[in-house]
Subunit: 253 residues, 2 copies
């Protein structure tokens, strides 16, 4: 994954606020990118850039400063320009997710540049006409202008997600530390639960099943692990002791 | 889509730097979110928050400031806490994309809170234990600490993408202004192309087909529209006039 991300260059053109260069460097390092080129920045290097870079000052120290757009994209087989809106002459345009998927796919073969324009007016039409592809972050039309550092963060994040390519777990309990309780263990829990509720006088011995069905549904939805089942059964035993239907230390049948 | 996003609350707990509150407000408005609650911020309202909010000062003016975590999540049917790392006791945990898909799905039914902790140490274990679910932005292990505003931006972006749910075009040329050239139009272009290359002496009349195959492949890959084909044929006509094989103004056969 890192080899792919290291083959992707972020280019910032004519950045006005040095803080945005620092923020971009941090966003890039957070996401595993490292090739940052700035074209004719207004104020760089700068203290503000270092402050905003935080733990990415090492990346900031390796930034290449060049004079022209052409130098910045030299050697790149795919050049993608960020574009806030559709131009008069339409250009191939993808949203950030699809664009970053394509960028990662191509970065296995050649260097890819993602180019960001000025804070106030983005890339010029001439610069956009030097790009193979334009990328758009689908923002709300009511206020679609993202801060430059934020735009780099979203793209860097999508590049990393594309490089991770489905390797993240789907399941919220994927990294659980204990094995899930199996069916027989859960059945013993439910029997013990019902017995205890009768012992406590909470359920009559000839209770309708609806209460236990609701409790089953709740417990099954939580997907308890073995340790959690043991905790619940310990609580049930304590309740039985309190109810006088079980002696302290008496094992389950 | 907006109704779903308006049912999702962003909560910032004990924020130290007011600029991050402003940055979060801007990120939210960019992505169509509007419910921002801050718990006991160190310095808010503040000039710095307003500056960073930029065009989202209206959202900033509606921020609710509360004293406790409980007030902030009041009325929410799903509470999600951002967590940089796995805790000693594992908790249901999803990456930003899957988590935001679940948040949007549930926001059709009830209010959802996404809670972000302090700049330096996130949410406490006690706060995380009040959440149904934890969310993690899969950053590079070498430097996984995102700026707070950036983390809100990534989550807000993923919430919007989940709310857009596949409505964005897959095709880079989806919003093209001219119809694609059809097969017969392209065949006439290739015939004209070959004829012109012979007229120019670039190809011998009995040329091998390989050159035309390469030109076909190039043109077909570009998926030209009707206007582009007309431009190319106009250029070919000009070349034929220059070569003396066509009179100025002579129509195609």
């Amino acid at each position: 994954m890192n080899a792919v991300l290291h083959n992707i260059r972020i280019v910032l053109v004519n950045t006005t606020h040095p803080g945005n260069i620092g923020a971009a460097a941090r966003a890039m390092k957070n996401m595993g990118l490292r090739d940052l080129v700035v074209v004719a920045p207004h104020d760089f290097p700068s203290r503000e850039a270092s402050d905003r870079a935080a733990g990415a000052r090492d990346l900031l120290a390796t930034v290449r400063v060049v004079d022209t757009f052409e130098e910045a994209i030299a050697g790149c087989g795919l050049v993608i320009g960020s574009s806030a809106r559709q131009r008069r002459i339409p250009w191939p345009l993808l949203d950030a997710r699809r664009c970053c998927q394509q960028a990662c796919a191509e970065a296995r073969q050649h260097r890819v540049a993602l180019v960001f324009g000025r804070e106030d007016r983005g890339l010029t039409n001439e610069e956009l006409a030097r790009c193979h592809l334009h990328v758009n972050i689908p923002a709300d039309e009511a206020y679609s202008s993202l801060n430059l550092g934020m735009a780099v963060q979203v793209i860097a994040y999508e590049l990393r997600m594309a490089a991770l390519d489905g390797t993240l777990p789907d399941d919220a309990m994927a990294d659980w530390d204990k094995p899930a309780a199996d069916a027989a263990t859960l059945e013993r829990l439910f029997e013990h639960f019902e017995e205890t509720l009768v012992d406590l006088g909470f359920l009559p011995a000839n209770a309708p099943k609806q209460m236990m069905t609701r409790l089953r549904r709740l417990v099954l939805r939580a997907r308890p692990d073995e340790v959690e089942v043991n905790i619940l059964r310990g609580i049930l035993r304590s309740a039985q002791v309190a109810a006088g239907t079980r002696k302290l230390g008496q094992e389950n049948t």
